[in-house]
């Protein structure tokens, strides 16, 4: 209590100093008078008395100081004084301050912004309860579509009973359906989940409830849990939504809850229980080992580690493969990995983000080097001042603190500027991260990011303070004597400055080389031949046929299927009407319909076999994309027919089964023969669960490959079936025009609306837009790294130019002497240029060497360009050299213009 009171009084004391000083002086004076009076009373002479009184009471000034120290908090006051002093001296050199703060702001801003993305996307703990205990099980194999296989119900059962280190397994079966609204309908990325799903995931509802084990199985009402984001988007965050009914492909579903915001591997709009899909409850699904439709996230048992889970899962999986050889074709190398959920969510972003973080770190190095250089130059000019202060009793420690405070003020101003830059760039970075990560909405400038920024600023300030040479106690005289003439600083400092310039140039070159490689990648990607003959094609996705989850009761299968065939016929009639009317629009050359969008491909791959072709033992059964197309689809999409004929209107149900395959599939089965007329068929275990027939089909045509997996993916086999012979799945309209395809969108969409007023209409895009979209992430990559590279280049140019300018100004005298002794101004200019050119050359060599060894790291992000592409390296070196020489030119010119008379006199 007493201490607290004293502390408060002392803090108050800081602010009442002036008044208190007067008071103290008066008190001292009265003390002196009282004492003097006492001596006079004892019979002393008044003058002598006063002298005696002063002696007796000790030094007045020291007393005042001692009282002051007791009154306030001296260390705060002296630091406040240091800060005031720092601001004053920085204000005296506004150009220096501005350049330093700006340079630091750029470096710190870039780092803060990118670190906030790294934190939000890769580092931050998951919002799930004990999210670090969640692991994603990735089932994969070689070949197209093999990267994410999912699990079948029997596989999950085996894992659940076999792996004790997994406490719970959350099952999620993607199930995209049409959600019908009052006046429209949309495709909803749904997922069917088991009752334990949310418990295992550690997620709670913000509204209502989530599914429970009592929602499992048949005979329960269908229920739906909305994701937070979908609730906001589709239902405008309506809090009365709980208990309401929504229509999902003809079924009524009750909304029971809204989930808290949480990232997921795939986009999800809503979760439903299994009862909505009788297929998911059927024996086919429950007993079919190869019927893999479910993603699995598991929660580690208490005390279990990821490594334990890995070992255990591997054992269980090996036993599964041994017991069910038919389900795991050895040629396809089935794999099962256990990946922490956080890592799985950050996987796609990791390499890109690490690249950006490295690039930002490089910019930080360059800007810190630049600031260090500026500080060194300023330090040389201030050396004299510092020595004087030391000699006058400031104390070396106190001076060090003064410098530290000054550098802290600079660095913190830079950090403040950096925060402004980071806030400005954050929106751009979030939209960038959205392409790579489901956690982009978690990116924030939170306290950890703020701490990072502060730590960065303080580190820089400490480094800068370290650079300054301080006079040692007792050597002041020598320093003062040498003092004023030491204008260029010590040799050690000059070496340091030059080393810093070389480092700046080298790091810039590395950064620019990276930017160059990524830019060339982006160009190469956008120049890739898509395989399509035209880009003026409009695509509209209008799924009209609703298949749903099968009959509610397995006994009704026959009736359900008859109904499905009727719906299929109705959907096809509508497509015909839509296409007839669109074909009549001006400029339309061809209209087709099929399951898939050109350049996007389909999500379904199945094994294929060709008559008389035996797959060698140990080799994977070939797989192909499953698609269908109507007769005009190829022409409309611009997919070239290489051999044979297109589909004909006569290729109907009941007519002979025919297919058209792409070049890749043709090469796979018929490398040296004509595929036309050969027999081919879908095959494999999965066929059991599919409405697709495994009958032999006759190949009537071969079409060219298209870049469906993105411009850098290797093409995969595709088998097209006539749209008329299969269910009208997908419903992608493809419209080719002889003018701007984008302008056609309004008219075409209106026609679709007239024919199918409530059908969901999605992805109204031209082929050109689809292509751009597939290159866009790479373009952003290249743009961001290039931006950082250019930033680095500018800072480095300022750096080398600045050091030379300093060198010229400190050598003015010497240059004056040289010129008066007959040196030509061109010689002086060459001398200065040579001084800068040497640094530039060393920096270039080091930078190119660094890029040469570093480029391998980003190999995974490159396409169409070798990591050590000589053209890029030479280009970057030439650019850096040109800009570097340009930066040296200005001080060199100034040196050449020095007037010897003026120089000698100064």
């Amino acid at each position: 209590m007493r201490q607290l009171r004293a502390a408060l009084a002392r803090i108050a004391g800081i602010f009442t100093k002036d008044h208190a000083d007067d008071d103290l002086r008066a008190e001292m004076e009265s003390h002196l008078e009282l004492e003097t009076a006492e001596f006079i009373r004892r019979g002393m002479d008044p003058v002598e008395a006063r002298r005696k009184a002063m002696l007796a009471s000790g030094g007045l000034t020291q007393a005042v100081e001692a009282v002051r120290d007791q009154r306030g908090l001296p260390w705060i006051e002296s630091i406040a004084a240091d800060i005031r002093y720092a601001f004053r001296s920085l204000r005296r050199t506004p150009a220096f301050t501005l350049v330093v703060v700006l340079t630091l702001a750029l470096g710190i801003g870039a780092n803060t912004a990118i670190f906030s993305v790294v934190r939000g996307v890769l580092l931050k703990p998951l919002p799930h309860r004990e999210g670090d205990k969640l692991v994603y099980l990735r089932h994969s194999m070689d070949g197209p579509g093999g990267a994410s296989l999912q699990f079948s119900v029997p596989e999950i059962r085996d894992l659940r009973t076999g792996a004790r280190s997994l406490a719970g397994m959350a099952e999620f079966s993607p199930w995209t359906q049409t959600l019908e609204g009052e006046s429209d309908a949309i495709r909803m990325s749904g997922g069917l989940v088991t009752g334990n799903f949310f418990e295992v995931m550690g997620l709670s509802p913000v509204l209502g409830r989530v599914t429970q084990p009592s929602d499992d199985g048949g005979g329960v009402p269908p229920v739906m849990v909305l994701t937070y984001e979908f609730w906001k988007r589709r239902f405008n965050g309506d809090s009365t939504i709980i208990g309401k009914q929504v229509r999902v492909e003809g079924n009524s579903v009750t909304v029971i809850g809204v989930l808290e915001p949480a990232p997921s591997i795939e986009r999800v709009d809503a979760f439903m229980n299994m009862v909505i899909s009788s297929h998911h409850l059927s024996a086919l699904m429950v007993e079919g080992r190869t019927h893999r439709m479910t993603d699995v996230v598991a929660r580690l048992a208490p005390g279990a580690t990821v490594d334990q889970a890995r070992t255990e899962v591997a054992t269980v999986y090996a036993r599964m493969q041994k017991d069910h050889t038919e389900a795991y074709d050895p040629g396809s190398h089935y794999r099962l990995e256990v990946v922490p959920l956080k890592d799985a969510l950050g996987e796609r972003a990791r390499l890109t983000l690490l690249l950006l973080m490295a690039a930002a770190a490089f910019v930080m190095i360059i800007s810190a080097a630049n600031v260090a250089n500026l500080t060194l130059m300023r330090g040389v000019r201030r050396e004299h001042e510092l020595v004087l202060r030391a000699a006058l009793g400031a104390g070396v420690a106190r001076l060090r603190r003064l410098l530290l405070v000054e550098n802290l003020v600079l660095a913190l101003m830079g950090a403040a500027g950096g925060m402004v830059i980071a806030i400005g760039g954050l929106r751009l970075l979030i939209s960038f991260a959205e392409r790579y990560s489901p956690r982009a909405n978690e990116i924030r400038l939170d306290t950890v990011v703020l701490g990072f920024t502060l730590a960065l600023a303080v580190t820089i300030a400490l480094l800068l303070s370290f650079l300054a040479t301080m006079p040692k106690e007792g050597t002041f005289a020598a320093w003062i004597a040498a003092g004023a003439r030491r204008v260029s600083g010590s040799l050690r400092k000059q070496r340091l400055q030059r080393a810093l310039v070389v480092a700046q140039i080298a790091v810039s070159v590395v950064l620019l080389a990276g930017a160059g490689l990524l830019t060339r990648t982006m160009i190469a990607l956008s120049e890739v031949d898509t395989g399509l003959r035209t880009e003026e094609v409009l695509t509209i996705n209008v799924p009209l046929l609703q298949i749903g989850g099968g009959p509610g009761n397995p006994a009704d299968m026959g009736a359900w299927f008859r109904q499905l065939m009727i719906s299929d016929g109705q959907a096809k009639e509508k497509y015909d009407r839509i296409m007839r009317e669109i074909a009549a629009l001006p400029g339309v050359i061809a209209v087709g319909v099929g399951t898939s969008t050109p350049l996007r491909g389909s999500t379904t791959q199945m094994e294929v076999k060709a008559e008389g072709k035996i797959v060698a033992a140990g080799e994977a059964q070939p797989r192909a994309d499953l698609r269908s197309a109507d007769p005009d689809y190829f022409n409309a999409a611009g997919i070239p027919l290489i051999k044979g004929r297109p589909f004909r209107p006569t290729d109907q149900r009941g007519a002979g089964r025919v297919v058209i395959i792409n070049q890749t599939l043709a090469d796979r089965f018929f490398p040296n023969e004509d595929p036309i007329g050969k027999q081919i068929a879908w095959t494999g275990e999965v066929l059991k669960f599919s409405p697709i027939s495994g009958d032999w089909r006759t190949i009537v045509g071969v079409v060219g490959n298209t870049k469906d997996g993105g411009p850098d993916a290797t093409p995969r086999g595709v088998m097209f079936m006539p749209y008329a012979q299969e269910l009208a799945i997908g419903g992608v309209l493809v419209i080719r025009t002889d003018r701007d395809a984008e302008a056609l969108a309004t008219g075409a969409t209106r026609i679709v609306r007239q024919v199918a007023p409530t059908a969901p209409i999605e992805n109204v895009m031209t082929v050109k837009q689809i292509k751009d979209q597939s290159v866009a992430p790479r373009r952003l990559n290249a743009a961001l790294v290039s931006l950082l590279g250019i930033l680095a280049l500018i800072i480095a140019a300022v750096g080398i130019g600045g050091v030379l300018a300093f060198s010229v100004s400190s050598r003015t005298n010497e240059i004056g002497i040289r010129m008066s002794l007959g040196a030509q101004s061109s010689m002086v200019q060459r001398m200065i240029l040579w001084e800068g050119g040497r640094l530039l050359a060393i920096g270039l060599v080091l930078g190119v060497a660094g890029a040469f060894f570093g480029a391998r790291v980003i190999q995974g992000l490159l396409f169409g360009v070798a990591p050590r592409d000589p053209t890029t390296f030479i280009g970057v070196a030439v650019m850096m050299a040109a800009i570097g020489v340009g930066a040296c030119w200005i001080p060199a010119r100034r040196a050449a213009r020095i007037d010897p008379v003026v120089a000698m006199r100064s």
């Binding site: 007493r2 003390h31 006492e38 007796a56 001692a66 009282v67 007791q70």
Partner: protein
């Protein structure tokens, strides 16, 4: 003349409080003189020791200060004990006695060595 002693901070506070208790409100000079006299000039106090100690006591709320006319018509700053100061003095006096007893017991000549 007896040798001069250094005053420990806590001790000085105790002396100041006791002086004010005995003599009532007093200015800094008076406090110094009284302490010097009581110590029979074994202690001397200069400004640099006295005034910070007074300020500290004031900050702690043990004493309060006000400007007044002195007995010989000079303006001086008088310090007076507060209620908290009285309590503090009693507390410290008790503690001091205890410590003194303890030290005395320790330093007492040994009873009959065996």
């Amino acid at each position: 003349m007896a040798e001069k002693l250094d005053i420990k901070q806590g001790t000085l506070a105790l002396m100041i409080l006791r002086t004010l208790e005995v003599l009532g409100p007093l200015h800094g000079y008076g406090v110094a003189r009284r302490i010097e006299e009581t110590s029979m000039n074994r202690l001397t106090l200069n400004y640099g020791t006295l005034y910070p100690a007074l300020l500290k006591l004031e900050q702690e709320g043990c004493i309060k200060a006000e400007w007044r006319q002195s007995e010989n018509n000079r303006r001086a700053k008088y310090y007076a004990l507060t209620a908290a100061g009285r309590k503090q003095l009693a507390h410290e006096t008790r503690e001091w006695h205890q410590t003194a007893d303890l030290i005395a017991a320790f330093l007492a000549p040994r009873p009959e060595a065996t």
